[in-house]
Assembly symmetry: C2
Homo-oligomer: 583 residues x 2
């Protein structure tokens, strides 16, 4: 393979740079890349036919690995099928390395098959796009390829991580002869030393001075992967410094005696004086997107005097609460650890090292307990009638300890956030909240199950499930995947949110009922299928469902969309009558 | 709806500009567009949940309408799911109007849901991308929207037709109140007068002078929609002027006594002297991409002294045979009609108005007959053993007269081209040969069936079928759709083409067998399902299968990939031993 040696070497470079997993989508133009990774003794390669699904599978794998996963696809529209997952990875900050085969550029607009303009095709939805040369005879071309792959892999990891695109034009002939052996040459690895942003001592003094003269500090946590160290430091802020820590299920902020997790419930419909009561003077935010509108609206309506947002890079102002005053270029965990230590030491110096017990924290916590109780009562209200919400509550309660949970858009993640998960369950929660599409939720969960040994449960609605059912088609479905399908035969969210539910076009143009059940899809995929439509049946099925078994399993829960809507309406009324007046 | 009146008016403008069909993908941000078209009394709206499939459905509809079809989708990754169909439409020159809802731009990079950088998102795969303002209070903004929609629709139609993107940022509130009526205001229609490119008389004299001194003229036809007028003039060139007309099934060049349709068979493995015997002095090409490699390779290896390519615009040099000398900016049909008339008149003036009978045409036609006979013999060779190829032959033979045929990539379209369709069958042939992906072949055929009253048959392999099975999911499947599924349980083309078939990775990394049959998919979709695995069963099923009925029907033919490969190998040997030596 001497002509394509530079391409063969890419596989070795992936390995040397610490990439362990590659997803391959079959194609002919991409054959040199496919063969290079398939024959490499140290790369684990998985093959999937549908590029859209494959992209999300790679995303789910990269989330678990916390390392870039490489994807290989052929030229033409195959590349565009990766784009939904690329966008999600970019905004969710998950590292992917996209290796797209291409025709040499001289064939563009020459009526050649599978030839589109692939240079820069992912636009601003990748951290950077590279284009390799089609000829490697000149040593500088080989230097360019090796250097570029090094840079691309480094870049995908650099915080904030994300997808990087390397377009690989390949000239014929690109197949080895039948008996030709591949040799992986020694490649040059170019590392980048870690150099996290470091605030000068003087800056720390300034921040501490602000802290010191501030009464009400609040930390709000957007989407973050599960991290025990993060939870530990956040708990200290709450327990020892009296700082409310407000979070959501997608930020892996669990329910315990400290954290505020029911903001979505009690922050709606506040009177102005109640709102002022919850307003922080200093707001500190970390993480990616916030899930719930009520929380976002609250922080916009009651802006803090100072708002610090902690993010690793300073190039973009993320001002999602419209109140930002200071962008702090830092990794959230070390920043919070040092902030806590400094504040704690300052308090020690001031002889003030008792745990803070201010009214601000207890005000938030009291509201949170009130809301938790109301949610609990409301969701169990319909008795034995199974609704999407009560199903989610039951499933969350019974999740195996230490397992992985994927929450699909659009209603499952919202119901799950209303319910919450308790700290003692040690659940790692994921959801595609970068772009919040329904297009790859099942594939992402499947990707996770390919990597982790833990049980992976995905809570998903029927539209998202059938949209992405090709996740179950080409690869063997990993046996540790558990799919809980909430089938209300429609895009249920449109009945729950205000706007479309008032339109006569609701059913025909928004919900679009389809009449499908997942039974045949599960049978085709060779996974265990069970169904239920009562609380009782769900309760009896779950213990066995969560047992390890030889195949993946799908539990389809049929609910009535009108009953779901009624429960949600009752919930909103209860909030209005039982929560808001007490705040 | 006064705030969003400018958006509501878009629906009226679509209607006034002659657009009749809209495909809507459900979403909330896109609701104003959805409601505007849904409530418009003169637009026909269809709803599909999977945007990837919806894009191709719109493509298939636009092919039949020969008019732009509008697509509406919500913001975020939904937009990217349209991209595969957009690329195909661009390179196949099919008009589409893409109306993508967006968040107002101030929300980009603010951790807001379903927000990606949608401006110019389709890159060079659309004719142009527009971005509307989010605020319409200023009269100039409303002027901009109205003018832009006019321009976008005009542009999508202007030859060569293609997709045009209009990004529509929408600010909240964007739902009408429950009882709010829509008023469609009077809109301003800005037409573009037709002004086809016109060659000056002097130029025609020069072209005719070249023609006059040229002995061997040949016309080669790339992909073109079925057009009886085009067939009529091409037949005249062949029958009256002795010009070989070389075409393929995707160019709607049928088998008759005139046309050369077996080039793929007899143009392979030519000796140099045989190649010289087929070489034209003047090559005239029309249409889009050519399907078969043998044909393309022949024209590259034996370049004509002069090569005229006829295409409506002059901005790009399409030199796919690497022999172009003159780009003629003209619509192919009027150009050929005038060329024929002028040549004919010149011959009349020269007293030379007998039909030309030169040896060049008869040489091509003799080879074509030889090849046709060999194909016929080879394909019927395995007797009652059903192969993909023999199945295609039988299906093509029995297609209802005047019906529509969709040929999926990658092997079905190749087998079908080897077989050919006879002129008397009056079949209109379509295939996604713009980018040649497998990602939307079923959806495109379904889109066609939604528009035409004719029976629409799609010939499709198993990978393309399952890849795109969401075509059958959300909309009612039109009863005039007939799916012939060639299920060899793999990406069979990789076993047929040379490169991958020689690799030990063939099955695991290229073919990727999946074990699926379409039975359950068909049952889910509520369409009639039958299967067969012998010539005899196919022969007995087809007459009934092609009868009109209350539902669509799917006929799954199970074939053995090794038998398919053996037949193809035998075919290539037969060509080598029985055709090449005789040329």
């Amino acid at each position: 393979m001497p002509i394509l040696q530079a391409v063969v070497n890419i596989a070795e470079l992936l390995h040397q740079k610490g990439i362990t997993d590659v997803v391959v989508c079959p194609g002919s133009r991409s054959a040199p890349l496919t063969l290079a990774v398939a024959r490499h003794p140290r790369l684990r390669v998985r093959v999937m036919a549908d590029e859209r699904s494959a992209g999300f599978v790679a995303l789910g794998m990269a989330q678990q690995r916390r390392q870039p996963v490489a994807i290989i696809c052929t030229s033409g529209s195959a590349v565009y099928n990766l784009a939904p997952a690329v966008a999600e990875a970019y905004f969710q900050q998950v590292p992917l390395l996209l290796l797209t085969a291409d025709r040499p550029h001289e064939w563009l607009y020459q009526q050649d098959g599978q030839t589109i303009d692939q240079v820069g095709i992912f636009g601003n939805q990748v951290k950077r796009g590279y284009d390799l040369p089609a000829d490697y005879t000149h040593a500088d071309a080989r230097w360019f390829i090796e250097r570029t792959l090094n840079e691309a892999i480094n870049l995908s990891r650099l915080s904030p991580a994300g997808p990087v695109h390397v377009n690989v034009p390949l000239r014929e002939p690109f197949y080895p002869t039948a008996d030709e052996a591949f040799t992986y040459e020694r490649v040059r690895v170019i590392d980048v030393l870690a150099a996290p942003p470091t605030l000068p001592t003087e800056t720390w003094h300034q921040l501490l001075a602000v802290w010191d003269r501030t009464e009400r500090v609040l930390i709000a946590v957007g989407q973050l992967p599960c991290d025990p160290a993060m939870l530990a430091i956040l708990k200290k802020f709450s327990d020892e410094l009296g700082v409310p820590v407000v979070g959501e299920i997608t930020g892996n902020i669990p329910m315990n005696d400290s954290f505020i997790t029911k903001g979505d419930t009690f922050l709606s419909g506040l009177t102005d004086s109640a709102g002022q009561g919850f307003r922080p003077d200093l707001l500190i935010t970390i993480g990616n997107s916030f899930l719930t509108r009520n929380l976002k609206t609250f922080f916009r309506q009651y802006p803090a005097q100072q708002h610090w947002h902690i993010q690793p890079t300073a190039d973009r102002i993320n001002d999602s609460f419209q109140s930002l005053t200071t962008l702090i270029p830092a990794e959230p965990l070390p920043f919070l650890e040092k902030l806590f230590a400094d504040v704690d030491y300052q308090r020690f110096l001031q002889g003030d090292d008792e745990d803070e017990t201010n009214g601000f924290l207890s005000h938030w916590q009291a509201a949170d307990r009130l809301a938790a109780k109301l949610v609990q009562q409301t969701v169990s209200d319909p008795g034995d009638l199974l609704t999407d919400w009560s199903a989610v509550q039951l499933v969350l309660d019974q999740l195996p300890e230490g397992s992985v949970l994927h929450l699909a858009n659009s209603m499952p993640v919202r119901y799950a956030n209303l319910c919450g998960i308790h700290e003692r369950q040690h659940i790692s929660v994921w959801g595609n909240r970068g772009v919040s599409g329904i297009d790859g939720c099942l594939s992402t969960a499947l990707g996770a199950a390919l990597i982790t040994d833990q049980l992976v449960t995905v809570l998903i609605g029927d539209v998202a499930f059938f949209y992405d059912r090709n996740a179950l088609w080409s690869a063997p479905v990993p046996p540790n995947l558990r799919i809980i399908l909430l089938n209300n035969d429609s895009g249920h969210i449109f009945r729950i949110i205000d706007g479309p539910s008032r339109q006569p076009e609701l059913e025909a143009y928004f919900e679009t009922p389809h009449g499908y059940t997942a039974k045949r899809t599960a049978e085709d995929a060779g996974i265990r299928y069970q169904s239920g439509n009562t609380i009782e049946s769900l309760r009896s099925l779950l213990p066995d469902f969560f047992q390890p078994g030889p195949t993946a399993a799908l539990l389809e829960l049929t609910t009535d969309k009108l009953a779901n809507q009624q429960l949600f309406t009752r919930y909103k009324e209860n909030v209005k009558t039982q929560i808001s007046p007490k705040l």
